[in-house]
Symmetry: C2
Subunit: 644 residues, 2 copies
């Protein structure tokens, strides 16, 4: 691993070691296209929406009630409601100066509720409340402290250390004082503090925060938490982190913990721990991940299922698990430099993170199903919704972790586009953007990326500034191009075929040089591993990184999505407005008294041949109640050559 030199960039994640060095939010600007639109909506609508709902639901009011000594009677929301305020603060901090006033106001609200010793939580520890840390399983106190620390780090890096950062640091000191080697020998039921403490260590250079994070990672898996109905796997307290083989239990918890383990491994140079996280990621991606990148298939405990238990119709695929998966993938990419991590991050960004918020940024999916069987009703706009009803996006939830998690992710998104390794620049995610950074020798590099990705597959990189010596421009060739042809065109117009992984160009670039990456975004049929029982006999469509779906809104004759049969022997084609059109038919559902028949008596319903319009999955449910499918039944079923 490489030692990163200390820098004061606006970095969401700033490892001091690792293969790649991230760029700061002050080094990358997204200037147009898919993510620019979403970031604009986030900055101009979602942040205020979240602030208003928290005020209305009393979650910000909890801090005022605590300061006034009335919290025992007046507290509102769930035990982790404080964390939403912190996540919103983090998002606002990354957004920068425009939100300085909001950050100051919210900081002024939370500040008086902090105890003199740094402890800050509105649900525990005051007269009439349960004592501090009396419920490590469900209390979420360290989880909340973790999000407070993340918000403080964001402020310090983005706007310079202020009151929020000072509150966060006092809280972190309290955590170290209380849970250190001589303190409470416990962990929090919901991981999060781990990665927060490492980031604070990176910001401040204070070893104690890193030590405490490492202690939390090592302590987990030894059964210090109670054996609840869901089992200790629910909060990863069943197996020590470095011995686990696959992610399991509550998906968000598992992913946050593993992100924290990567952080600890990188900072402490613990290659064995890093290898353990990579191994778990590999197994999870190979067997426990939806086509969208979504993770978590059980509604009951928001958990990963067994290997290959990935039902589209009961996909939980929590938005926060998508956020957490991107956090983990980004850390593994920085540590190893391997493009497979950016592949999964891309898939998850386009098909989970981008799916959650509505076009107006004022309602959200909490769970991201891949199959909706009946049209839902529009959720109430004036009160909180159940989190798992996936028919339409809702403005707010009783457990409303997802909106603020999406908000802080979109706010920091530019930082995920590119890195430097000292000898060059690596482009990982493609968007219309401007980049300006410096190589290890201090020489500046400026790039202008132009693309309408993911609609189009052409990415043009124009060199703005460059040292007068050779350096390497690396471009990720996404894994989804496998089996199709991707090309790289150098500044001299020479083109070559590139395969999934990394395409590199080493030369002395000159200002005005243009490099072009041409990615084959034509729509393709995708088939699932036969062990994904719930997708047997179906195909899906992917176009570039985008997963597509069929929505009843686009079907003729009032048909529902379940009527669709597609013919996989004909390739899907580009349709108008970003749609894809597939050959297929619509089968009229026939009701029977008993849905199981002897095979020799069974008949398939007749299908009327028609073209089926598909739309990007992230865009579904923006046109009123609908039914929807990602995996489309085939007729006749697809046959694949047998490998002997």
């Amino acid at each position: 691993m490489r030692e990163n030199t200390a820098r004061s960039l606006v970095l969401p994640v700033a490892p001091t070691r690792g293969r790649l060095r991230p760029l700061g939010l002050d080094e990358v600007r997204i200037t147009g296209g898919f993510w620019a639109r979403r970031r604009h909506v986030n900055a101009t609508a979602t942040l205020a929406h979240c602030r208003d709902w928290m005020e209305r639901e009393g979650w910000t009011g909890n801090f005022r009630a605590a300061a006034k000594g009335r919290i025992d009677r007046d507290r509102r929301g769930r035990e982790f409601a404080d964390s939403e305020v912190y996540k919103l603060l983090e998002a606002m901090a990354w957004e920068g100066a425009a939100y300085d006033e909001d950050v100051a106001a919210l900081t002024g609200t939370i500040s008086p509720a902090q105890h003199p010793d740094g402890y800050l939580n509105t649900a525990f520890g005051r007269p009439g409340q349960p004592p501090r840390y009396s419920d490590l399983e469900w209390g979420h106190e360290l989880y909340c402290h973790g999000h407070l620390v993340q918000a403080g780090v964001a402020q310090a890096r983005s706007r310079g250390e202020g009151e929020l950062a000072r509150i966060a640091r006092r809280a972190a000191d309290h955590v170290c004082d209380t849970f250190g080697p001589g303190g409470i020998q416990g962990v929090c039921g919901h991981p999060e503090i781990e990665t927060a403490l490492v980031e604070l260590a990176r910001l401040t250079g204070e070893q104690r925060y890193l030590d405490q994070a490492a202690l939390f990672v090592e302590r987990r898996g030894h059964g210090t938490l109670a054996d609840i109905e869901f089992g200790r796997a629910y909060y990863q307290d069943d197996v020590p982190v470095r011995r686990a083989e696959v992610l399991r239990g509550h998906a968000v918890r598992a992913l946050y913990l593993t992100a924290g383990a990567v952080d600890v491994a990188v900072e402490t140079g613990d290659d064995a721990l890093l290898a353990a996280t990579v191994r778990q990621w590999e197994a999870t991606v190979a067997r426990r991940t939806y086509l969208t990148g979504g993770m978590g298939s059980h509604h009951r405990d928001e958990s990963f299922g067994d290997d290959f238990v990935l039902p589209p119709d009961r996909a939980y695929s929590e938005t926060c698990a998508g956020v957490a998966s991107v956090m983990l993938a980004w850390r593994l990419l920085l540590a190893t430099g391997e493009p497979r991590f950016a592949d999964l991050a891309e898939r998850t960004l386009f098909n989970v993170i981008a799916t959650s918020p509505a076009e107006d940024g004022r309602s959200f999916f909490y769970a991201n199903t891949l199959h909706r069987r009946h049209r839902g009703v529009a959720p109430p706009t004036d009160r909180v919704s159940p989190r798992a009803d996936s028919g339409l996006r809702a403005p707010w939830f009783a457990v409303s972790c997802c909106p603020t998690n999406v908000a802080r992710t979109l706010a920091q998104l530019p930082a995920y586009l590119a890195t430097t390794d000292g000898d060059g620049v690596q482009l990982h995610q493609y968007a219309d953007a401007e980049l300006s950074t410096s190589l290890a020798d201090g020489q500046g590099v400026a790039l202008r990326v132009r693309t309408d990705y993911p609609s189009g597959g052409t990415v043009t990189v124009r060199i703005g500034r460059s040292p007068a010596r050779p350096w390497t421009l690396s471009l990720r060739v996404p894994g989804w191009t496998a089996g199709a042809t991707a090309r790289l065109v150098d500044p001299d117009g020479k083109q070559r075929t590139v395969t999934p992984g990394t395409a590199q160009l080493t030369r002395t670039f000159r200002p005005g040089d243009e490099i072009r990456l041409e990615l084959p975004v034509a729509p393709r049929w995708i088939r699932a591993d036969p062990r994904v029982d719930a997708a047997r006999g179906t195909v899906a469509v992917q176009r570039g990184p985008l997963v597509y779906c069929a929505e009843s809104t686009d079907l003729p004759g009032g048909h529902e999505a379940d009527a669709i049969r597609v013919d996989p022997s004909t390739a899907p084609q580009d349709g108008p407005g970003g749609s894809v059109v597939a050959e297929g038919g619509l089968a009229g559902p026939r009701d029977t008294t008993w849905p199981y028949q002897p095979l020799d008596q069974a008949t398939a319903p007749a299908t009327a041949r028609t073209a089926i319009t598909l739309v990007p999955y992230h865009s579904w449910a923006n046109r009123g109640p609908s039914t929807m499918r990602v995996w489309l039944p085939t007729t006749p079923p697809p046959t694949t050559p047998t490998r002997r």
Copy 2:
């Protein structure tokens, strides 16, 4: 509907009106075969097993603690633990004289805990406990009272009214006093009191019990219970019973409620209410029922899923839902005389009820999955298990409703075999049995049924006693015979083909006459409706009423059940020892880094051709940890003719 004359038979369900009149446990004796073995195990092992675990877990002790005034400190088990003692008492009462001492002892334990006004519950109402009926959503007080009443009815009918029946009646009076028209305008979160009160009305002739049951049925669906996270549909408080279109929410609650609604409809002559229950049953059976007859596909809230959401690998199919479904089907059969209700009862008895207990009757499935992906570990024998881990049967659960529910069902099973309509006898379920009853004119009929059903398909009915006038013997021709040939052979040896429904023979039978029903039990491939997404591209095997499964125990080379591919173009054949053998292959799983591939790049794993042994589903997991599948992937996929 026909008015039944008052009788004093040992009847679990004794409607005063309806198409068919049930036979009492004193009129039917199961003498051998499948159910005789299970009933023997139930009577000689399961009942004592349940009694011992309840004592050990402190659930019987709760009554002693209540009587001693120490229940606020000492109570153990969940809020509904009392009901297990009552269900065990009910089972013991149906078993008859052999359990008189146990019934007396347990009755002596519960009796001192009853309040002077008839209220009886160890979780509420005493100093230090929540007040009576302060938590109708989750408190289960009326549910417990309902099971107490059922136990009392069983004692009164089976052994003559004793102390248990008197306790039950006092409790029922208390319920009527408290929840009558001028009382609490509420319902219990868990239905059960409805059907119990109707049965008590039938026993005693007291109108007030029927009125109270009708009131509870009508009161539900108007949102008097809180709108919990699972929604009011969880406890059927979302839509009034007579307006609902399909069963929804918690499966056991939905089925108990509907059984109670049938009871009320029958006793009050409310044809509209009866029609509503039939309509809901039809929709539920057509769209929300597993091949096994199991109901409930969500682990999260133990609920029915949406239409056709029937994942084999996440089947909840709670044993108690099977019990409740048989209860409902039996009531609808008595009310209407339609054999389709007996069809579902048969399917559920053989594939859910018979599956739950282990061969020794000392461990149980709570959830009955149709697909087990990884071998479980043997559950602890010395402590309670999580209810939903379906890998192996467990001796007891923290929520242990299923063992006693199976026990009371097996104890009353003979009553489900046959009915009379006054003009004849109807055989609904087939077992080696002796029947003796009387027709409407008081003339006696005695029958001897000989069969090794479901192993064999031949059922021989020998007339023992018969009036010297024509009467009608009706035999159910199961729905599963559709498309194959069933025959009825009359006492003269004349045979005719019969089709699903009812085969009737009207004549003047003479003692010694033999009637033979020949049912085609050869194994057959079964296919699911294409809307059951989770079973697409698979087939199952049914042999007679038995659903079969493949268990890894029977596979060569240490293969797991997920390796199986079968060839549905070759019919499955009978194998040794009740097994079935199918042509197929075993596919070695190939791990990939990402389980989704472009269709043109995908290859199917090679399969080595081999015979696949299948065993009855009810017998699985009796030979140690295993993996298992009911629905078997096909290779090549099955094609079915298109209906134009």
